[in-house]
Point group: C2
Chain length 556, copies 2
């Protein structure tokens, strides 16, 4: 027997409609590429999203079409979020920090028919456009004056403001099936090509509600959020959607993510909470400490993308009065899966014990289920000691990849995160390892296997391994371990040159170490735990040009 409640679908248009009706005058403050501040409101973003919706439909966009963005955090990007998904098309946020070859792959794989891009990326677009034949319109997110920078492009570029200026804001968002696709983010995985996570309206709205709940990020209308995490990273962790649902003032920093610019904006706009990756916060911490500066409004940081060290959590709390909400998620989990918020009983613990808990990745949100399993698939206890492969499931977890297969999901319907974790009796999860050995550098992922594959293509290399070595600023940087072929005398510099043009600059290994052997598992896989034990503390340059015998032999 079916219930007799309304069949109201959960749709992204309901978020911006709610914002317009219930907190239409609340501000959206954007720092533009030239550094000036632009002030908008939810009502205005809604109005302009409806103009854009009319514009997209007039340009031939159909339900299910993919519309790409190469853009910073700003009001036009926000308008694209709501307009593209709102008409039933798919908002595909492309990460402009990727290597152009990857961007071309992603745009072509997604079959994007239009790309909206910020002026920062004109030269990138000049490079990739000839290789993206499916893109019918390139739209520069600027006004007429801003079009000068694109004057020398060999192909036609449209002007965002001119295009939407042709249309009225008379538009009624269509009723959509809530299971229909709303947005697409590619994750640069550790093996093979990037894979697309295809979110639905339903998954997005449910994630939005879960994100705001008090034991998750606890977001109310009384907050002011500066969104540091890019809108091309898992939809800025869902914060843009959540802003519309909750109605807090939103501050979007554009490309200006240096500590001084962020600090200025935190202070001038009365920011109370900000989501971002550890690298940014550690840089900001250093900036504040050096200048003996304080925050006057900031109360909380929402930190994910990589582990945030306990020392940083403590420093923010004790020196700056800022609490840290440590969270875990992946592109495949929308992204929020867990958040470290203390339980009632923890308020009685000594501060050291509280910091240790806050440094864990935290407790699972209602809606998501998690478990850890051994290699045999058997569930392991939640005792804070046993560690195993970390699996999750729930309505905002991916069951497959765009155009791909369901390989990411176990036969029992769980998503294998690729992380290894412990879970304690109170449900606090801690990531202890990454089963796929990705290197997290400044919150971005670097695929160790991709780097190994390139190195292995060099004629002088017998075997290659890449691990993350600790780095004070970027958390981790890649270190390349090489066994030369017997006849080879390839050098560090020759190897690093071999990577040039094949990877994004920031993927470049910081150093090369030559070894006689590499440790393997019984099934022949590299045993990276042993390599990390030996080399995670390696100091770049210390062994540059070392002979093949200068490193301790590692047992096979």
């Amino acid at each position: 027997m079916q219930g007799l409640m309304m069949d109201t679908p959960l749709t992204i248009s309901s978020l911006i409609r709610h914002a317009d009706r219930n907190h239409g005058e609340t501000e959206i403050v954007s720092r533009t590429i030239d550094g000036s501040l632009h002030r908008s409101t939810y009502r205005e973003v809604h109005s302009r999203s409806r103009r854009l919706a009319n514009c997209l439909i007039a340009s031939g966009v159909q339900s299910g079409d993919r519309i790409g963005t190469l853009a910073w955090n700003g009001y036009r990007h926000m308008e694209l979020y709501f307009a593209v998904s709102g008409i039933g098309a798919i908002c595909h946020t492309v990460n402009p920090r990727l290597f152009p070859e990857q961007i071309v792959y992603i745009i072509n794989h997604a079959e994007d028919t239009q790309i909206f891009f910020d002026a920062t990326f004109i030269s990138l677009v000049r490079d990739i456009a000839p290789r993206c034949p499916g893109v019918r319109h390139w739209v520069l997110m600027t006004d007429r004056a801003g079009m000068a920078g694109a004057a020398d492009l060999a192909f036609s570029v449209q002007c965002y403001e001119e295009e939407i200026g042709k249309f009225s804001d008379e538009f009624v968002w269509p009723d959509l099936d809530e299971g229909s696709a709303s947005s697409l983010c590619y994750t640069s995985g550790t093996t093979g090509n990037p894979k697309g996570v295809l979110y639905s309206h339903r998954s997005t709205v449910l994630h939005t509600m879960a994100l705001a709940m008090p034991d998750a990020v606890n977001l109310s209308e009384r907050d002011v959020m500066l969104v540091v995490v890019p809108m091309f990273h898992a939809n800025a962790w869902g914060t843009i959607y959540c802003a519309a649902a909750v109605g807090f003032k939103l501050v979007l920093p554009g490309p200006h993510l240096d500590p001084a610019s962020l600090y200025e904006l935190f202070e001038s706009e009365g920011v109370t909470i900000s989501p971002g990756v550890p690298t940014v916060w550690n840089g900001l911490l250093q900036f504040l400490q050096q200048g003996k500066r304080k925050f006057t409004s900031l109360k909380r940081l929402f930190v994910g993308g990589a582990a945030f060290p306990e020392a940083s959590i403590r420093a923010f709390r004790e020196h700056l009065g800022v609490s840290v909400i440590h969270a875990w998620g992946m592109t495949e989990t929308s992204p929020l899966g867990t958040a470290a918020t203390l339980l009632a009983k923890h308020s009685r613990l000594p501060m050291d014990a509280q910091y240790a808990l806050l440094a864990k990745q935290g407790r699972v949100l209602f809606g998501v289920e998690m478990k850890i399993v051994g290699d045999d698939g058997e569930e392991l206890p939640h005792d804070g000691v046993a560690f195993g492969n970390f699996l999750v499931r729930g309505p905002w977890v991916a069951r497959g990849y765009f155009k791909g297969d369901d390989a990411a999901v176990t036969k029992h319907g769980w998503f294998a995160t690729g992380d290894v974790a412990t879970i304690d009796a109170d449900g606090f999860m801690r990531i202890t390892d990454r089963s796929k050995d990705v290197i997290k550098s400044g919150g971005e992922w670097i695929s160790s296997i991709s780097l190994e594959s390139i190195a292995m293509a060099h004629p002088g290399v017998l075997e290659a391994a890449v691990i993350g070595m600790r780095h004070p600023k970027w958390d981790e940087r890649p270190l390349l371990l090489i066994i030369r072929k017997p006849e080879s005398a390839v050098t560090r510099d020759e190897l690093l040159q071999f990577f040039e043009g094949k990877i994004a600059k920031w993927w470049m290994p910081d150093d090369v170490v030559f070894v006689d052997s590499l440790p393997h598992t019984a099934t022949g896989k590299l045993l990276k735990t042993k390599l990390r034990d030996a080399y995670a503390g390696h100091v770049p340059g210390a062994n540059a040009g070392s002979s093949r015998n200068s490193e301790p032999a590692l047992e096979r």
Copy 2:
């Protein structure tokens, strides 16, 4: 194109499974009928719910069957919530405060096959059971020792503890379609028979998440909630489900709702928040003020069911340090639709202005849409002045009634609440009138039209009208206005006697006033606004036995 996220259904079993896994040791404290305290945990409630699930299935319960309860707030009632809905049956919470005739109607209309009842209701069950032939099992919610009280019943009664004791807790909740019916509550409307609102798993889970959000009731694991609102009133406003999702400690007071008992429990269990109707809170306020008592842990009241006067909100805040969250909802809206939480800018207002806002019914929750329309159906402005019929829609709003039709929903898909309201520019809604003129007495509804219908059946009555007159304790009490037939000399006492046995005792009008005429609208409907102007301040007994000419004439 469909998204590629997991198709995880939103089900009630996911709530209790989440509670068990993530805060299994948190307490559920219940005051039993004899006044003693019973301590359980989410894990134990989950375990016993699974035993009960096995028991229900063994007794022949099928998917979609209705299982009734006549019970106070306690752990066994909570187990029924999760077990009955969890197996795909429908948990039908019957309001034991209704007149037996209505209870019989409701049980038969719902076609309940089993009724679980507390010992308080043995004599009620003795009365109604012979008239409920469809009920195959009557189950007394007690252990073997407690069965003595039911020994003299003429029909077989099962013992809750003995029945579930026969079964193991090995049970896996079935996967259910989230649109399937989960629970059923009848609303005693103003016209005709009570109507059943049939909630779904989806509506329940979405309402649960919305309830917890910071700008709604803001519920975290750090709360301790004493649930005063009965579990037979719109599922205790969703708080039981929310408890499982959020993991706060839950305190269930059983039948002991007098101020002294509540106060003792607030203090002994460290309660921080409590939901209930104004009558209870006004009684508690008086009790505390008379005894010069203070709360040591209570921080917030969550008040709905009827308007809570600004003076009470102020008294709780200023004398007791307790904030009031004033909310609006109906059985048909699951029930939460709006909650009065202040916006950031309101913190700068003088306290008087803040109290005035807090006395409104509040801002709409994300997920629900609201509007006010004139009698022509045209939408009215949100200016805080214009008032009109208050309409809502959303995924936890009813689209129809059990076995009934969709008459409650407009052709455009909105639910007509029957209330008249204003909405201001910030989205604060205020109920200004009830289009159907129900009388709210102690948070319960009394149908004026039902009372009028009975009065009209008296041979000496020409016309009758019932309005609410103000009452210091119950907010409102019914007042009966009568035009006698020319030849009649029927008295006040004769009329009131005529109601005996036809209505619940508390529906009995407090007084009768004889008049020569009653005001009507152009279409012939009673113009109750005029009647209220004249009689809302009536003092019962003042005009008892008055002649037909003792009242001021009211213009037709």
